[in-house]
């Protein structure tokens, strides 16, 4: 049986969710603090308009508090929050006429950059560049599913819920993305040896 992939925050969320539903302001504050950064990060993939993202996060949390008595207890709170935020952001972007929905592609970007990461070795830098390049070639929905799967650690059902597609479509979508990535990411054995060599060199120096 496949283990439900959970990211680090998951377990904390469920307990505070229950307390928040009961009306605990303290728990609600924690819910906000624990999810603010990730939600902003996710929102930034859709738009670089920080005001819009902040408004969306604000709206999400206002809705949560005012409706807390009517909320259920989702199996994954993070799943619930992401889906809700995504909807709010889409609506806001649509009302700003930022985009009209085009089949199979949206004008936002889940591209990755590694500008602020300090990389110790060349091999990893090379791999990052490869990842960056291949992601950039993917359609936006494939980009998003890669992000939700590998960065956020959502399961296929959770992804399907967030992206509002069915589970089999989620499998197919990720499969397509991975096929593209596989072709580009073939690392030759030579590079691995070089990598190992450079690691040894580093160790020796230290």
């Amino acid at each position: 049986m496949p283990e439900n992939i959970v990211s680090i925050h998951e377990d904390h969320n469920t307990t505070i969710w229950l307390a928040f539903k009961e009306g605990s302001w303290e728990a609600y504050t924690q819910l906000y603090n624990q999810n603010f950064k990730l939600l902003n990060n996710y929102g930034y993939k859709f738009t670089k308009d920080v005001n819009l993202i902040e408004d969306a996060v604000h709206d999400l949390f206002i809705k949560l508090w005012t409706n807390r008595t009517n909320l259920g207890t989702p199996a994954s709170v993070k799943n619930y929050l992401y889906k809700a935020l995504r909807n709010i952001i889409f609506r806001k972007m649509q009302s700003q006429s930022r985009f009209t929905e085009i089949e199979d592609d949206y004008p936002f970007s889940f591209e990755v950059s590694f500008d602020h990461v300090v990389i110790a070795n060349e091999e990893e830098r090379a791999l990052q560049n490869q990842i960056k390049s291949v992601i950039a070639t993917l359609p936006h929905r494939q980009q998003e599913i890669v992000f939700l799967r590998f960065y956020e650690g959502f399961s296929y059902p959770e992804i399907a819920d967030i992206m509002e597609i069915n589970v089999s479509s989620a499998y197919k979508l990720l499969y397509k993305a991975l096929t593209s990535m596989e072709n580009v990411l073939k690392v030759s054995k030579l590079v691995i040896i070089l990598a190992l060599f450079s690691e040894i060199r580093v160790n020796v120096r230290v």
Partner: protein, 338 residues
């Protein structure tokens, strides 16, 4: 976990595998042991496992936008809107089911109050004879096609009813001190603009075709009227008095020796005295809903001498036919006089 399936896995298949990703994202001692063992067991998979692992880890080192420096400011907005301090501005909201219950209760209360304030209405169909008992014990026998109306809260300050059609009243006497008559002790029957005031009596009222006939059986009643543009003196009736109010005039028609015969209709008895055919058949129309047709209109004026007392419509029609030498055809609710 079934390890054997991994023996044939490709690089891509590792990337698709839930358990593999769970390990890379969340390595635990248990998982580390499993995957290291797997690598040892299937050495040709070692590279793929390593590569897949590196790809995922590298991907996860991407630039982020956590917007941390805005965390407090956005929170302040939220707190201002729904926080504990904001409670004064908030409208108190009941949980959903209570709000619905309150709304239902409000509607129910309005309905009850509305119905309570609505006048009480008793109506008889053609040919139906019904007894209405008032809250004070007064009984009203209602003839067919008649309506008795009174207001809610009846009997507290007044006993007033409105009558259309025909009714025989037996009014309960409430008054103790004749020198001081309280409001609720008077019983008043309204027929359009005619008022019949009683204290406790038995009498018959017929209100049909803009004519009201009142016949007193026992007790004492006072008849007043409020026609437009006229002031009428009240008329006091004694037992046996039979008055008619028509064309804004109260006139004493006769003194009945047996006024109780006025209520004979309640037993479906027809008692008529020196009456014209038209009047007899009019009664059948009013209270029983019959349709009367005369082949010769002058037949209406044919008069029956003396008193007739019959029970039931059939007997009445037979008597008419015999006494007046006319042909009476009855077809369901249609009566034709020939």
């Amino acid at each position: 976990m079934d390890a054997s399936k991994y023996s044939a896995y490709t690089f891509k298949e590792f990337l698709e595998d839930d358990d593999f990703i769970a390990w890379v994202l969340n390595p635990t001692d248990e998982k580390n042991i499993f995957w290291n063992n797997l690598s040892a067991h299937f050495p040709d998979k070692k590279n793929d496992i390593a590569r897949a692992s590196r790809v995922i880890l590298a991907y996860r080192k991407q630039d982020t936008f956590f917007n941390e420096d805005r965390l407090t400011d956005v929170w302040k907005r939220i707190e201002a809107e729904v926080g504990p301090a904001a409670k004064q501005a908030k409208v108190f909201r009941l949980p959903q089911f209570l709000r619905i219950a309150a709304a239902v209760l409000l509607v129910a209360m309005i309905a009850i109050i509305y119905r309570y304030n609505q006048p009480q209405n008793f109506q008889t169909a053609f040919g139906e004879i019904k007894t209405v008992v008032m809250p004070d014990g007064t009984t009203v026998l209602l003839n067919g096609n008649s309506t008795l109306t009174y207001e809610h809260g009846w009997g507290k300050n007044s006993r007033e009813v409105w009558l259309k059609g025909e009714g025989f009243f037996h009014v309960i006497h409430l008054n103790q001190d004749p020198a001081h008559i309280k409001k609720g002790e008077r019983f008043v029957v309204h027929c359009n603009d005619l008022n019949i005031e009683v204290l406790g009596t038995t009498f018959n009222v017929k209100n049909r075709h803009d004519k009201v006939n009142v016949g007193l059986v026992t007790g004492k009643i006072r008849v007043t009227a409020n026609p437009v543009k006229k002031i009428l003196s009240p008329v006091t009736l004694s037992p046996g008095d039979y008055v008619e109010y028509a064309a804004q005039n109260i006139s004493l028609k006769s003194k009945l020796t047996h006024p109780e015969k006025l209520m004979s209709w309640s037993k479906r008895q027809f008692i008529f005295n020196n009456v014209k055919l038209g009047e007899i058949l009019r009664t059948l129309e009013d209270s029983y809903g019959y349709q009367i047709k005369y082949t010769n209109p002058s037949s209406k004026d044919l008069e029956i001498e003396g008193e007739i007392s019959v029970t039931g419509v059939k007997e009445l029609l037979e008597t008419i036919s015999t006494s007046l030498h006319v042909n009476v055809y009855q077809n369901d609710h249609q009566i034709t006089i020939n």
